[in-house]
Symmetry: C2
Subunit: 295 residues, 2 copies
């Protein structure tokens, strides 16, 4: 399942057993990884349900208990909870343990977590590009990560062995791992993910605000365009806040292109309008469906 | 195949044998309709290919020839060509022939076409809500219309028999037919279709304009949100122009909701941000996939 099975941690604790945390557990099991998986969460009943489904080997709502024996901790709660979680767990970590995450925001968060963990354990930032608007372990799938990309965001302080281990784990789950600086990560994902969510939410609010009946005529185009507006407001308000500067910058870039098209339309300038649409069509045609192309 | 088969026209001419025109022909054949189908287009080679595929019984690039014997003419070229097409065909139409269309814009276009056709034949505006970003008869499918909605836009001048015939045809192809005034149609579809296309095109231009590499990290969220930006710039610049006032109004409505979210984010007002996202999530959840729900 990997070129370096000895790199594999034996005891894994997942903080937050939702879509990503649950899929991580199922994917490890499906690949036959020799791991025991503990789940931590705030809601014991939910953890018990995940345990009953075979996602977890054990579970606890006590963070100290959850960390004590773990070789690897995966942070899979909303990104805005990471700092408090890590601050709380630090002194309970086994020396040399690896703390990693599935968060959609990196940037300054990585250096903060790195600083908190420093002296206790080793932090490696990761962002598996997988998921969707569904949430909860009920939506978890063993093949969620397969064929998708995982961005790992090392810094000069990142422990090389820990980096190799985290890389090996995601590769073993079928992901193409790529390294990026935490800041570049946030610049890129503000544009291709975070800001598009903001646009989708705004578009739904605009259409729903026009009159009550209009949304009833939505076809597949509108449904696809706004599918991500079904995503959790709790999770996504946290992501937008955590990557605020880059999302606002992406918003300024969008405003320019949006007003360019609106102005061409207002001026009945068909040539400029068509040219702007054609630029977008060409750029969009370059975006491949990774799974479909087997890239 | 319908409650009133006698309403069915025997000779049908399709102006523009693309995704919609081609699917109309295939759908009629699949239902066993006793019709002969002539295709008109500018490109003889393309018409011949559609004929070779069994989509057409005959074809011509001569509009007069195309119309002369037709009981029903379906306009399935881009909406901005309808006026010239209809102006050119009028004096060749068989008295009492029905002229109808599949255009995404109605409004004043309907009254103009109605006026042009008046005295020669009978016009009924229709908009089957089906299609997608693909184009050309190669993408045509016999089941394209099945389970989807068709908006028919009669006016006080619409001939009642022609209205019944056009309704019966689309119902026979599995569509749920609904009547709406031409102006209300344009108000609704500016919001759920035309303006969302403009947003998707603008979003792609913004992301592509940031730097060359960013688009390479697009995941399924971005791909779905911008799928409709793959649509034909020729077709969609025409649609946006034809429904300009309503699209610009939808743009103003969007700007307000967009800036509301941007402002909450800039002000780090998490509560307002989350509330705006939650409103969108709730509204989006009310949008059903018609085919999936079997509505």
């Amino acid at each position: 399942m990997t070129d370096s099975p000895r790199l594999f941690p034996g005891k894994i604790t997942i903080f937050g057993v939702g879509l990503l945390g649950g899929s991580f557990a199922l994917a490890l099991r499906a690949r036959g990884a020799a791991v025991t998986i503990t789940g931590w969460g705030r809601n014991e009943e939910r953890l018990r349900q995940a345990y009953d489904r075979g996602i977890l080997d054990s579970f606890t709502t006590d963070a100290a208990d959850a960390c004590r024996d773990a070789d690897l901790i995966l942070l899979a709660t909303p990104v805005d909870t990471f700092r408090d979680s890590v601050a709380g767990m630090c002194r309970h970590l086994k020396p040399g343990a690896i703390v990693t995450d599935v968060g959609s925001v990196k940037g300054t968060l990585v250096s903060r977590l790195e600083a908190l963990v420093s002296g206790h354990a080793r932090f490696v930032g990761a962002h598996p590009i997988a998921g969707g608007e569904a949430s909860g372990f009920e939506a978890a799938r063993a093949d969620l990560f397969e064929g998708e990309r995982c961005i790992i965001t090392p810094t000069p302080k990142t422990d090389r062995d820990a980096l190799r281990t985290v890389t090996a784990i995601w590769e073993s789950l079928g992901m193409a791992v790529e390294q990026m600086s935490p800041d570049r990560h946030d610049e890129v994902f503000a544009r291709v993910s975070h800001f598009p969510h903001l646009v989708a939410y705004a578009l739904v609010n605009a259409v729903a605000g026009h009159d009550g009946a209009v949304l009833g005529y939505a076809g597949s185009g509108f449904r696809d365009t706004t599918r991500i507006a079904q995503s959790s407001p709790e999770l996504w308000s946290g992501i937008l806040m955590a990557n605020r500067d880059e999302v606002l910058a992406a918003g300024s870039e969008f405003r320019k292109k949006f007003e360019q098209i609106m102005n061409a339309l207002a001026a009945e300038d068909r040539a400029s309008l068509k040219a702007a649409l054609a630029r977008a069509q060409t750029a969009r045609a370059s975006v491949q469906n990774r799974k479909a192309t087997g890239e």
